[in-house]
Amino acid sequence: MEIGFKGYHPIANLIFFASIVVFGLLFKHPVTLAVCFAAALCYYIRLCGRKVLKSFLLFLLPMLLFVLVINGLFAHYGTTPLMTLPDGNSLTFESLIYGFVLGLSTVTIIMWFFCYSEVVTADKFMFVFGRVLPAAALVFSMALRFIPLYKNRLRTIAEAQRGIGCDYKTGTVKQRIKNGGKILSILITWSLENAIETSDSMRARGYGLKGRKNYGKFRWSTKDVITALLMILLDIVMLVGYVKKSVYCIYNPYVIINPSADFGKTYFVNELNLTLNPISPLGILTLSAFTVLCFLPIIIDLREDIKWNRLKSKI
């Protein structure tokens, strides 16, 4: 049995990742970016442990810098020049900021995808997929079965051919290609021949009868339902917040954070053409909803950990 959020129903898992990706891409607010990044990093560490450090330093950080530099050097929108580049164009404050925003959200989404592949295993994916497209799901499952089988068979054939002196690893290029071609041709003939037996086995077990159903071994429990409903509720709040433009930001031609409002105090940084409007109550609600959603799996996991430790200390 899987622990924490990983052990939840596949549909609950999928709702989470779908919401994160959709709203992570829709919102460009600095707070959402920071929260989303922090949550992704925490959950990624929680799932993969020390491996994360390596992938972060070698892949994610360079990626972030790369996007930042490319955007800064080649996108020349914005109205606030910081310096002049050798090609005569100017490096603007807006393009740097937007490059950072772009880089950060890319890195964040990639981290969520890493988490996704840990949480939504092939089994779970097949379960959801099988509801929508049962026939395709079976084909997919068969492909997962036959790819390793054929790989194995290819090795068997290559070794058998070497055993009788038809080596694809030695000899002239022409001979090697010829021997390699032979191996492939055997693989095809052999596999087609064997496929007959597999289809016999399928028919013998009633494949092709009307009313085939897809069996999934996952069951809804109360906690899955509650979590799924909570996520849907958060989604609705965020959607309203998005439609009402409560956490609206623009980075071009100059940076404006939050929509202009007739309450509170607005800050300007004149040298950078930066406007910082006060945030509305709906904006606060939206940001909170987003924060809760992002940290949901970590909260679930930590709660379970704490429960365990308490139980352990009682023993």
Binding site: T156, E159, A204, L209
Partner: protein
């Protein structure tokens, strides 16, 4: 009660004059355990397939088959899928999905059962067949024995009344095969499911069956209890004389009358009542002093982080001998063979072929793999043989020796298992190897062809070839090999002449040896028992 009734069934394949099944009548009661035997190509598989509507081959058919009083061709597909379970030979090819749990559910999904029912049935199957430990595994991670058990379980999940099995254990090692047959008899006893089984390995299957049906040339040559087979053995088709259980064969060769022993236990009881020599005097055959293959302190592992498959293994294989390497599953037999044939290189230790390093060595080493299909490349057997050897005279000579002259114009994949093996052997022999390696060659071979195969090996050895064979087949090695070695846990744990090798073992030895232990000393094969009995 009569569950299956076959009336005057005849069947011939399209484009064939010969009838595969010829006017056959048979009736089977519910709950019987029937062993159907016959040499390969006698129509066993054709008959079994006729009982399952979905699998019945096309061809000309006359006569009738009733299952529970209903004509089999008129049976609705759904009923046929549920009622008649079918397990085939190759464990790998019958598995459809990637996960064990999904495979168990596959048939039930097809029947359109609801989730709760499927959950219940798979849970039942898992505990009945002891699948718990590998329930969440991928199907390609299983061993052959587990795969076949999974196939049986996923058929049984559909709750069939009749279970048909076409040589289900032919691809398994002896322990997995024994385990499989035991499970079958458990199903038969505990659930009352009718079992119809065909087998090459009759030694074990005879002990479980209630009734033996012997087929010959598309008809039934005999039908009765196992004991009756023993009494009538001399009048039955010849293949049975080499395929029947040891006790039965000896009983028959000695020409005794009375109740025929079936198992080793019966055989011992029967032998005790006989007068015979107390010891067999055996002359050891001498083998050449010169070594064909020398391995010294071989260590091998597939990956740096894995444990060693072979650990400081040393082995000397004498020239011009028939050398057998035995051992359980995962002992490293196949790895060892790949090292001898230099498909793999050890990370430490020395390999010498005729005293030379394998890379410098000009000696031809050929390998006949377990899956012989892997070596055919051309459209017909003849073209295939020509691709290795241009000289037609030579091809004809070898074809004659292996009885494949009439198969030369067929596609290699159209041949039966035994024929494929012969054609593959011909191809390997055309390479004129000095050292010939066989990986489990007797797997799925019928008893009669084993004799032919042994004589081919004999003549190869006599012509100066060194034959090395990896095998699970204790009886074959005892009868024909010169030297046997036991591989266990990556080391050679015993190596001596075949006779003393099996004489020293107590469990891992031939039935003849087990039968005579404590009664006649020093006996390993049937012949030796007969010699001891006849001299009195």
């Amino acid at each position: 009660m009569e569950q299956i009734k076959i009336e005057n069934l005849s069947f011939s394949y399209p484009l064939s004059d010969k009838k595969a099944i010829d006017n056959l009548s048979l009736s089977i009661d519910g709950g019987e355990f029937i062993l159907l035997c016959g040499k390969s190509g006698c129509g066993k598989t054709t008959l079994l397939r006729q009982l399952k509507k979905e699998l019945a081959p096309h061809g000309e058919k006359s006569g009738k088959i009733y299952i529970d009083g209903q004509k089999s061709d008129e049976m609705p597909l759904r009923e046929s899928a549920e009622k008649v379970g079918f397990v085939m030979q190759n464990p790998d090819l019958q598995i459809v999905t990637d996960k064990v749990w999904h495979e168990l559910a596959f048939g039930l999904e097809n029947l359109g059962l609801d989730t709760a029912e499927i959950r219940l049935r798979t849970a039942e199957m898992v505990s009945y067949f002891g699948i718990n430990e590998w329930f969440n595994k991928k199907t390609n991670e299983l061993s052959g024995g587990q795969k076949q058990m999974l196939n049986l379980a996923s058929v049984m999940a559909m709750h069939p009344d009749i279970l048909i099995l076409d040589e289900p254990t032919s691809q398994l090692d002896p322990i997995a095969a024994e385990n499989f047959l035991f499970t079958l008899s458990k199903i038969n006893r505990e659930l009352g499911t009718t079992v119809i089984l065909t087998e090459q390995r009759l030694e074990e299957a005879f002990a479980y069956a209630d009734r033996i049906v012997v087929m010959d040339n598309g008809g039934i040559a005999f039908d009765g209890t196992p004991e009756k087979v023993g009494e009538k053995l001399s009048t039955l088709p010849t293949f049975l004389k080499s395929a029947a259980p040891t006790a039965m064969r000896i009983f028959n060769r000695v020409g005794d009358s009375g109740v025929c022993p079936v198992t080793v236990r019966d055989g011992r009881g029967w032998l005790r009542g006989k007068e015979c020599e107390k010891e067999f005097i055996f002359e050891e055959k001498t083998v050449s002093e010169k070594k064909a293959v020398e391995l010294k302190d071989i260590c091998f592992r597939y990956n740096k982080n894995e444990k060693d498959i072979l650990k400081n293994l040393s082995l000397k294989i004498p020239e011009k001998s028939f050398f057998a390497i035995l051992g359980g599953n995962g002992a490293g037999k196949t790895t060892l063979m790949k090292i001898i044939s230099s498909l793999l290189a050890p990370y430490s230790g020395k390999v010498k072929i005729f005293g030379q390093k394998p890379k410098k060595c000009e000696t031809k080493i050929a390998v006949l793999p377990q899956d012989v299909q892997a070596i055919f490349t051309e459209k017909t057997v003849m073209l295939d043989l020509k691709s290795t050897e241009k000289n037609e005279e030579k091809i004809m000579r070898i074809s004659k020796q292996l009885y494949i002259e009439n198969l030369l114009n067929k596609h290699p994949f159209d041949l039966s298992g035994g024929e494929q093996q012969r054609a593959a052997l011909a191809k390997v022999l055309l390479c004129e190897p000095k050292i010939l390696l066989f990986d489990e060659p007797t797997k799925g071979m019928d008893a009669e062809f084993k004799n032919v195969f042994a004589s081919v090996i004999r003549s190869l050895v006599e012509s100066g070839c060194t034959v090395i064979m990896i095998s699970h087949d204790v009886e074959f090695c005892a009868k024909y090999a010169d030297v046997c070695a036991m591989l266990f846990d990556g080391e050679i744990s015993a190596c001596s002449s075949a006779h003393s090798f099996f004489n020293r073992n107590r469990f891992y030895t031939t039935s003849a040896n087990r039968m005579t232990r404590g009664i006649i000393k020093n006996v390993v094969t049937d012949e030796e028992i007969c010699l001891c009995l006849n001299e009195k």
